[in-house]
């Protein structure tokens, strides 16, 4: 993940041109990169937790509990990587914790791999 350069510059495009510049300054390309990295990791975690719960035979709500646990673990690890300063890397410090956890892609990936591995291992 990248923090902005030493002198962060404000957006020069896509802003409403008749309002004065705000007080928040960030580099949009870096923010987007960080969000992409976060999404990438979330999909990986969904995949791995799906395979894990499938192989272990957990069913029902406990499986979803493992899913949430996995994402919580990911958030904690990424927090450590940002050296406890998530506001330097993201626009809002809550995005690390809650972005994309209940998004369609991650949930469906988890359910698919959970179903697949559960069926292969237990219904075989």
């Amino acid at each position: 993940m990248q923090a902005g350069p030493v002198a962060p510059s404000a957006l020069l495009s896509n802003l409403i041109s008749d309002k004065p510049l705000g007080e928040l300054a960030y580099v949009p390309l870096n923010i987007k990169n960080n969000l992409d990295v976060l999404a990438f990791n979330r999909i990986w975690v969904s995949l791995l937790t799906g395979v894990l719960t499938g192989c272990s035979g957990l069913t029902g709500f406990r499986g979803f509990g493992v899913y949430l646990l996995g994402h919580l673990l990911l958030s904690i690890l990424l927090l450590v990587k940002t050296k406890n300063a998530p506001s330097k890397y993201f626009a809002s410090s809550l995005t690390l914790l809650t972005s994309n956890v209940f998004a369609q892609t991650e949930l469906l990936t988890f359910v698919l791999f959970w179903t697949l591995t559960n069926n292969i291992v237990f219904l075989f």
Binding site: L12, S13, S17, D18, K19, P20, L21, E23, A25, D36, A39, F40, I43, W44, S46, L47, T53, G54, L58, T59, G60, F61, G63, F64, Q104, T105, E106, L108, T109, V111, L112, F113, W114, T115, L116, N118, N119, I120, F122, L123, F124
Partner: protein, 255 residues
């Protein structure tokens, strides 16, 4: 909550579940590469300098409208006069262009249609294939219990009302795999997706509706730009910048 598990034939796993998943993966891979191969070919003729000049003029005046808050008011007025004033660049008139526009448009539409159809047709074809060959049996079980309302969604074509709604048929598994593997593909093609997004953003900002010279109608575009420039009211974005920078610096130093 623990329901009696159906015992399903191992051959069903070997010959349906795994091959279906693998073929969905392969189909998505093929789609991705086919899209890359069928990407719009470069135009055969080099663009004419007058067309490029017109596009650039329009781009510059668009930039002026968007970023006028960063230059001084006098500078803005001077630039606006250059574009929209009495002898401005945008006052240039053009001989009427008639049929040239019609020839350019179908090409642009065909490109986008082709991409969308290319994405949809193989999926539907494969769905029909799966429905024809792999119908009438249960493929597997979702590991969590579902309410009976899910039964028509997951068990098309099987009329056993006593069967657990967690069991699904091949067609519903195919659709589940289609959506679920989309996430996996984002993993595999992460760099390509980022590049595509950047390219699309650039194309939308830089290109003028279609992109090719035949689709640009300079008289109308210039007229629209002139009117838009006249509407703009100058407002400096740098107002109160000393106060704001003071606040920012204080916040940064305190943190």
């Amino acid at each position: 909550m623990v329901s009696q598990d159906l015992v399903l034939d191992r051959d069903v796993r070997d010959w349906v579940l795994i091959p279906l998943t693998v073929s969905v993966i392969l189909m998505k891979l093929l789609q991705q590469y086919a899209v890359k191969l069928m990407a719009a070919p470069k135009p055969s003729e080099p663009p004419k300098p007058e067309d490029v000049q017109q596009k650039n003029t329009l781009a510059r005046s668009g930039l002026l409208r968007a970023n006028h808050g960063f230059i001084s008011e006098a500078g803005f007025r001077q630039r606006r006069a250059y574009f929209a004033g009495k002898e401005g660049v945008l006052q240039q008139t053009f001989p009427a262009k008639g049929l040239n526009d019609m020839m350019g448009n179908p090409d642009a539409m065909q490109g986008m249609l082709k991409q969308q159809m290319g994405g949809l047709v193989p999926q539907m074809g494969m769905g029909a294939f799966v429905n024809y060959f792999f119908s009438g049996f249960i493929l597997g079980r979702v590991p969590f219990s579902l309410s009976p309302k899910f039964r028509p969604m997951l068990q098309r074509g099987i009329d056993l009302p006593a069967l657990d709604p967690s069991y699904f048929t091949s067609l519903s598994f195919y659709i589940m795999a289609l959506f679920g593997l989309g996430g996996v593909f984002r993993l595999m093609f992460a760099e390509d997706a980022i590049n595509d997004a950047a390219q699309m953003a650039q194309m939308q900002m830089g290109g003028m509706g279609g992109g090719g010279p035949p689709t640009l109608d300079p008289a109308k575009a210039y007229e629209a730009e002139r009117q838009a420039l006249d509407v703009v009211e100058y407002r400096s974005r740098l107002e109160n910048s000393e106060l704001r920078s003071l606040k920012l610096l204080r916040a940064q130093l305190a943190a």
